[in-house]
């Protein structure tokens, strides 16, 4: 069944490729419909836990390579939700690609990517997982770089860090396999065996965990790998950014939930002499701190960036930070909160990126200070963005709040005051950059050149409206998502949280989201009653403004000049200026690349020596090898 779906995906990709360059609309609609079909099939797969399909590829020596697909609760959950969000994004890209220049073969790659996305979530052994992981990496690389130079530089960040991670994972996988006590490629059994091994050989287990964590962190842009999203998300095509941010960055988190978190839980169960902090293994605690640092750093970087897509990308980074921190708390609430936040983030961040895509679709502008006042021109887009940022900031009636609430529950009930502070700091900071984006793009003065901007076509509005509805829906009744999450959490060996459709019960307190939502609505009506008092309001032009008695036009102020958006948070930057250099980890990476380049240049100089020189290398090498050989 699963293999059939994957096979159909490949066939669909080939069909799309065969349809050629001309039939854009047909191809994109076809692929969106196809994805809908996949989603339907996935829905049908619910409940068939434990089903495994094996395809042998080849065996050589003592290794047997085979592809194994199976359905786990976590995997199904991820597969289903990502597919739903994917459909949303693809509907958006139908219009986008019909109206803009489409690169050759992009649709083909998109379908492949969707396939590898499913394959990641359905793989039950490490080889399959790794293959799907790699395919996903390179297809997405090619989607990010549709032929212009900046995008390549940007995608390089993504690609190199990802490949670094992938290689780390590769070593980890084979290390697992090479350890005699484990010697399996099956994910589930490797967890159990590793946990047992941690009693006798904690060092080995630690290194294996580190390798996998490196890989997952690199993919999910956790500190110190956080620079890539800003580059890649910003330069990716506008319809791909939602995918990158909503789905792709979650693979690492999926890996963590699939392997690292259950492993820690198992270790806690079987290994009595593991070093603990606050009831969780010390490694887990350290990793949680990585998440917290990511959250804060991502927030800071988002605050100081002027590019709207970069801002959203850094926001993604910081949200990943929350989820990572929460997951490594290893409590039921922590894992649930992390997982829930992953879903919520996927929803609201794709909504945000879709609305940004819509803005860019109409204005072709990415730097925020050049935009402004679009709210009246593009109301649906504005509303999507507004609700998106409300959700992202974790403000009550929307879905982001529900998961943040669980995360705080987990952190507070697990007694992690400093982690809580970090997360809270990041969360408050989120408010800053989100508002800045809102203001700079949609509020403030409307530049004259955008006077004729219209709302995006209806087909593009559909996914945005869907996004709004799902944000509101999940915010009102988080239980619909939390129940399947509960199944997945239970499969990890934890007692799931008590949830009902609109009620979440935590250790410190409980919350009824429906009541919170209705409170807000009630309060709004209360305020509206006041608004009805008094005279009708009088509408004036935005430029007709209080300027201490001067007419703005008279002293030559155009709307563009009058729009305060550039260097919006200069004071924040000023505060952090002394340590700004140190915060910028990109410089380290750049230095690394530079050094690698010059190292290579130096080495290749060796081959340009004269004829006698090359003989010298020959003989010198021989002598050194001989001497070293005798010594070794």
């Amino acid at each position: 069944m699963i293999s059939n779906i994957l096979l159909y995906t490949m066939i669909a990709a080939v069909i799309s490729f065969a349809l050629g360059q001309k039939l854009k609309a047909v191809r994109w609609s076809f692929s969106a419909l196809f994805l809908g079909y996949v989603g339907f099939q996935l829905y049908g797969l619910y409940g068939q836990w434990g089903m495994v399909e094996t395809h042998n590829i080849f065996s050589l020596g003592s290794i047997n390579f085979s592809l194994n697909f199976g359905i786990t609760k976590l995997g199904w959950f991820f597969a289903f939700f990502t597919t739903i969000i994917n459909i949303m994004i693809w509907i958006f890209s139908i219009v986008k690609n019909m109206n803009e220049k489409e690169e050759r073969g992009i649709n083909f790659l998109w379908i492949l990517l969707a396939g590898s996305n499913l394959a990641i979530f359905f793989s039950v052994d490490w080889i399959t997982f790794f293959i799907a992981w790699e395919i996903m990496t390179w297809t997405s690389f090619f989607i990010i770089t549709p032929g212009w130079k900046n995008s390549f530089k940007a995608a390089n960040w993504y690609f190199i860090l990802s490949m670094f991670g992938a290689y780390a994972m590769l070593v980890g996988i084979w290390w697992l396999y090479a350890t005699p006590a484990i010697h399996t490629l099956n994910i589930a059994s490797s967890i159990a065996l590793l946990a047992k091994l941690s009693i006798t050989a904690p060092g080995t287990v630690g290194i294996i965990i580190a390798l996998f964590v490196l890989s997952f962190f690199a993919k999910s842009a956790v500190f110190p790998f956080h620079p890539w999203p800003a580059e890649a998300h910003a330069e990716a095509p506008d319809d791909f950014s939602p995918y990158l941010s909503g789905i792709m960055i979650k693979y690492g988190l999926y890996g963590i939930l699939l392997f690292i978190v259950p492993l820690f839980i198992q270790i806690m169960k079987v290994n009595p002499n593991i070093a603990m902090v606050n009831g969780i293994p010390v490694y887990s605690y350290i990793l949680a701190w990585f998440g917290a640092i990511t959250a804060v750093l991502g927030t800071y970087l988002a605050i100081v960036s002027n590019d709207m897509k970069k801002l959203a990308a850094y926001s993604t980074v910081s949200n990943i930070g929350y989820a990572v921190t929460s997951m490594f708390i290893l409590s039921s609430a922590g894992v649930t909160g992390g997982l829930f936040h992953v879903v919520n983030h996927a929803v609201f961040k794709s909504a945000i990126f879709l609305s940004l895509g819509a803005v860019k679709f109409r204005t072709h502008e990415r730097e925020m200070h050049k935009l402004g006042g679009l709210a009246t021109k593009m109301p649906i887009t504005f509303l999507t963005f507004l609700l998106g940022i409300i959700a992202a900031a974790g403000i009550p009636p929307l879905n982001g709040y529900a998961s943040k609430w669980i995360i705080y529950q987990a952190l507070l009930s697990g007694h992690f005051p400093f982690l809580t502070t970090m997360i809270f700091l990041a969360s408050t900071g989120a408010f800053l950059y989100l508002f800045r984006a809102l203001h700079s793009i949609f509020l403030g003065q409307l530049p004259r050149k955008f006077n004729n901007v219209k709302e995006v076509p209806f087909l593009m509005q559909i996914p945005m409206i869907l996004g709004i509805l799902s944000m509101l829906g999940i915010g009102y009744a988080p239980g619909i998502v939390l129940k399947p999450i509960g199944l997945a959490v239970k499969a990890m060996g934890l007692t799931p949280m008590t949830v009902e459709n609109t009620l979440m019960v935590g250790k410190l307190s409980s919350i009824n989201t429906a009541v919170v939502s209705s409170t807000f609505i009630g309060a709004f009506f209360f305020a509206f009653a006041f608004y009805l008092i008094g005279k009708k309001r009088h509408h004036v032009e935005p430029l007709d403004n209080y300027t201490a008695g001067q007419d703005p036009e008279e002293f030559g102020l155009t709307p563009e000049l009058y729009h305060f958006a550039l260097k919006f948070y200069e004071p924040v930057k000023n505060i952090f200026r002394p340590i700004e250099e140190k915060l910028n980890i990109k410089n380290y990476y750049r230095a690394l690349v530079r050094n690698a380049n010059s190292f290579g240049a130096t080495l290749s100089e060796m081959f340009k020596l004269s004829g006698a020189g090359s003989s010298m290398i020959f003989v010198l090498g021989l002598v050194v090898i001989i001497l070293a050989g005798w010594m070794l």
Binding site: M616, V619, L620, L622, V623, I626, L627
Partner: protein, 274 residues
């Protein structure tokens, strides 16, 4: 400055060479007793494969693996009882009186085929590299050289032919013989002012000679089931007509080498212009 660098370089090279020298001498002077080492001073040929070449009894050598690991010859006494005699022994395995020839052309004829090929390919490469060479006209040769060349040419060729025809009996063989003939060609180039390069001719000769070598090997393959088999009777050791294809191959090799080297010389003289 440059000089200093050169001195440093030289010193460094010297150092490396000395280290390598120590390495080699260490290898050569390894004491006996700790396993096999280089056989110095009167090597025991019975420990080498060549004893059977000398005795011409490869076919009678006992099953190799049945013997002691360190020796090719189970009974040392057998070495002493050689019954090979010049001019008398008939139908020995390899009929040539010159043991070296018997190895070069017969026992390890395949190597020689490769060797001929090396020469062939390097002359070819030489021709390729120098095909743009313009013909050079030397200063007019003196009378002595001219006359000497004209006079000596047939004798040198004759001597060369003698050397390779007798390759299986006396020192020498195809390679020296061919080289001698090529020196005759060199003499002509030096001695005759209007010497014309005859590259086409040498090419054809060379080709045919090579063909003979390889063809003889193939005939062996098709008649006796093994490449380069000596399918002719080897005759009486020491006679001119003996040793089967060994002699034939050496003649072919001689002709081939002669043609090749001559063409090489002609190429160097300016092959591009014919």
């Amino acid at each position: 400055m440059k000089n200093t660098q050169g001195m440093v370089n030289a010193f460094f090279a010297f150092l490396l060479v000395v280290i390598l020298g120590i390495f080699f001498f260490n290898a050569i002077n390894q004491p006996l007793g700790n396993g096999l080492v280089l056989n110095k001073d009167n090597p025991d040929l019975s420990k080498r494969v060549s004893i059977h070449y000398i005795l011409k009894n490869v076919h009678n050598a006992e099953d190799y693996l049945a013997q002691h690991k360190s020796s090719y010859f189970r009974n040392r006494d057998k070495v002493k009882s050689s019954n090979l005699e010049f001019g008398k022994t008939k139908n020995a395995e390899s009929g040539s009186a010159n043991e070296v020839t018997s190895i070069v052309v017969n026992y390890r004829g395949f190597d020689t085929l490769g060797e001929v090929t090396v020469l062939f390919i390097s002359i070819l490469g030489l021709g390729m590299l120098l095909h743009e060479n313009k013909k050079k006209y030397w200063a007019k040769p003196s009378l002595i050289v001219r006359t000497g060349a004209n006079f000596l040419f047939p004798f040198i060729v004759l001597f060369g032919v003698y050397v390779f025809v007798h390759g299986h009996l006396t020192p020498g063989g195809g390679f020296p013989g061919g080289t001698i003939i090529a020196s005759a060609a060199l003499l002509l180039i030096l001695g005759l002012k209007d010497f014309k390069n005859k590259l086409t001719m040498t090419k054809i000769i060379e080709s045919l000679a090579g063909l003979t070598f390889a063809g003889l090997g193939l005939v062996g393959l098709f008649t006796n089931g093994s490449f380069l088999t000596n399918f002719l009777p080897s005759g009486t050791m020491g006679l001119l007509v003996s040793s089967g294809i060994t002699a034939l191959i050496y003649i072919a090799v001689g002709i081939k080498v002669a043609a090749e080297l001559s063409s090489g010389i002609m190429e160097m003289n300016g092959g591009g212009e014919e």
